[in-house]
């Protein structure tokens, strides 16, 4: 355990990223204990109050306490990201292993689909999907929509990684000593891929959050959920910027920036673990 901490101390990107995300988790965790989250609903507090002792983050035009909105909304946005990211990497990993292990037609097919899918701007396809199932979305449905395209990038990156690992001596040795395909995948390849998959997961979570915020800003999100993206949608809807209600849009922007920076630094840090050549000497 001491080794883990001293390593994190040396891996500065990982440290910064973890600290940012921990700070956010503390904000949400402590906030839930002390702030009445019921005030994240419309019409529960006076409208358009600038930050004051009673309402440290101020209130918006529909009568929501923005501190409560942030405390409820941040985990919702992260939830969308994590559900979509985990599904994306899971599906991606299965496809990637299938492709890289069985080669031939399967590989060509999976690789072509992923390659072509990646050149298509994903936000537009997501818009098409979201519009088609109009009606009021829930946060989980939102996550599923985003997940529908989230597997493309993981498939591509994990596949190429598996392909390089596959040629290593120890895989050959395992095959010669009579291990079957699935056994090689789980006992020989997986452990070596773990840090790499973790980095892919974090970056998938980050792009899923980006995609979900994009959809929400366009007005295709869960209308009654106080996610960070929906808050920005209302900011845009009520032209909060031009009206000078700065306290409405500063908190969601700051939190979103913290989320993206945190995830970005963690990805870089995990890359460093996955690829020791990037490591700085202690």
């Amino acid at each position: 355990m001491r080794g883990v901490f001293s390593y994190i101390g040396r891996n500065r990107s990982l440290l910064v990223g973890t600290l940012l995300l921990t700070a956010l988790a503390l904000f949400v965790g402590i906030g839930t204990l002390f702030v009445d989250t019921e005030n994240a609903r419309s019409l529960s507090v006076p409208v358009l109050q600038a930050p004051s002792w009673d309402y440290p983050f101020g209130t918006d035009r529909t009568g929501r306490d923005l501190l409560a909105v942030m405390i409820v909304g941040t985990p919702l946005t992260l939830r969308i990201g994590f559900i979509a990211g985990i599904l994306g990497v899971g599906i991606g990993a299965v496809l990637a292993f299938t492709a890289a292990f069985y080669r031939g037609m399967t590989d060509t097919l999976i690789r072509s689909i992923a390659d072509i899918g990646l050149t298509v701007p994903s936000l537009l396809v997501l818009i098409l999907i979201a519009v088609s199932i109009r009606g009021s979305l829930t946060v989980n449905e939102m996550a599923l929509i985003v997940a529908s395209l989230a597997w493309l990038n993981p498939t591509r990156t994990i596949r190429s990684q598996v392909l390089t690992l596959r040629e290593r001596g120890y895989v050959e040795l395992a095959a010669m000593s009579g291990m079957g395909g699935p056994e090689i995948i789980f006992r020989e390849l997986m452990p070596n891929l773990m840090p790499y998959m973790a980095a892919t997961l974090v970056s998938s979570v980050s792009s899923a959050i980006l995609a979900s915020i994009g959809l929400e800003v366009l007005g295709l999100g869960p209308m009654d959920a106080p996610t960070l993206g929906m808050t920005l949608y209302w900011v845009n809807f009520y032209a909060a910027m031009i009206n000078g209600w700065w306290w409405w849009w500063v908190p969601p922007i700051v939190i979103i920036v913290i989320v993206f920076l945190g995830l970005f630094f963690v990805t870089i840090g995990l890359d460093e673990i996955a690829n020791p050549r990037l490591r700085k000497s202690a």
Binding site: V120, G214, L218, G244, F260
Partner: protein, 334 residues
């Protein structure tokens, strides 16, 4: 052999267009929405009468639009229409066609995207190359961390901050739109400078955010390239530092960057759509936002189709140009 490569790439392009058209056709069908009935019900709710003949009207319109035919026949005629760039009428601004609306918005988006992508790619790549170069001025190192951090933020969020600082607080630049409300569009100096002033902030929010990514990737490639034997040899020969930098290092390190550019086009576009919404820039993104607000299905589908097809075309052209940049990639390999 060249022909085979070009034909193969063109095949991929056609495939993308076909996929886009197919998604456009089947996704809305899957939802079981009935655009005609919804629209009629809406009109009836507004007018407060005409409830009586509703079913006949729905039937009549279905016949008119060919919606009563079997699905495959509808799909066939949809593909035919799309192939001729007939994207139907806009529901929200009725007598106008989707094609007209898109044709109006497209130049704005193409202008914004082409300028910002090229500028950020050029600046970022050069910056990244210099960052890896030991003889670059020392102050450049301080540029990297802020650009790096910016790179992790979505375009439109940074755009919001720029609007607040430069348009709202300092009032240096216009806040909203593509040109001033009173301006008459035309090729006059006034109008062009007006458009330029309105474009600065949207462009900056894309450029400043993108530079970091390109610089980061380029720096990595440069470090690898500078370790190559031919670079050491070039230096040993006593070539001028500038020559070694441009002709030996950058020339080689830029190749993977170009591939990355092709792959990034879709993402840049997704980001630019939101930038346009934030700035009310009269391009495809703002039009799409309007279409979503009005639930104008045909317009949304038309935009999605056009943009995917246009990007497919851009990818195709870059793919064809790539072997010209890198002679090692022969046309024979795909």
């Amino acid at each position: 052999m060249q022909a085979v490569y070009v034909i193969k790439r063109f095949g991929v392009f056609l495939l993308i267009v076909w996929v886009a058209a197919t998604l456009n056709f089947f996704l809305p069908k899957l939802s079981g929405q009935d655009p005609v009935r919804t629209k009629l019900l809406q009109e009836a709710a507004i007018g407060g009468n005409v409830q009586v003949g509703m079913e006949q009207m729905v039937k009549e319109y279905d016949k008119r639009f060919g919606l009563d035919r079997p699905l495959l026949a509808q799909y066939g005629s949809y593909l035919y229409d799309v192939g001729h760039f007939d994207l139907n009428y806009s529901i929200s601004s009725y007598p106008r066609t989707v094609k007209e609306l898109i044709a109006e918005a497209l130049p704005w988006t193409v202008g914004l995207l082409a300028t910002t992508t090229l500028l950020s790619f050029a600046i970022g790549t050069l910056l990244g190359a210099l960052l890896a170069w030991p003889r670059a001025p020392a102050w450049m190192r301080y540029l990297m961390p802020p650009l790096w951090a910016l790179h992790a933020i979505p375009f439109f969020l940074f755009g919001l901050i720029l609007v607040y600082v430069f348009a709202f607080k300092l009032q240096l630049l216009p806040m909203f739109g593509g040109y001033s409300p009173g301006a008459s569009p035309g090729l006059t100096w006034d109008f062009i400078s007006d458009v330029a002033a309105h474009s600065i902030l949207p462009a900056l929010s894309i450029i400043l955010v993108s530079i970091g990514g390109w610089a980061l990737a380029m720096r990595g490639m440069m470090v690898t390239t500078m370790g190559e034997d031919y670079v050491v040899f070039a230096e040993a020969k006593g070539l001028r530092a500038g020559t070694v930098f441009m002709r030996y290092c950058v020339r080689n390190a830029i190749l993977p960057q170009t591939t990355a550019l092709v792959l990034a086009l879709g993402q840049i576009l997704s980001g630019a759509v939101l930038v346009e919404v934030i700035f009310g820039f009269p391009g495809i993104g703002a039009l799409l936002f309007h279409a979503i607000q009005e639930n104008d299905q045909f317009l949304i589908q038309g935009i999605v189709f056009t943009v995917i097809a246009a990007l497919g075309l851009a990818t195709f052209l870059l793919d064809i140009a790539y072997p010209l940049l890198d002679p090692r990639i022969s046309y024979r390999r795909t």
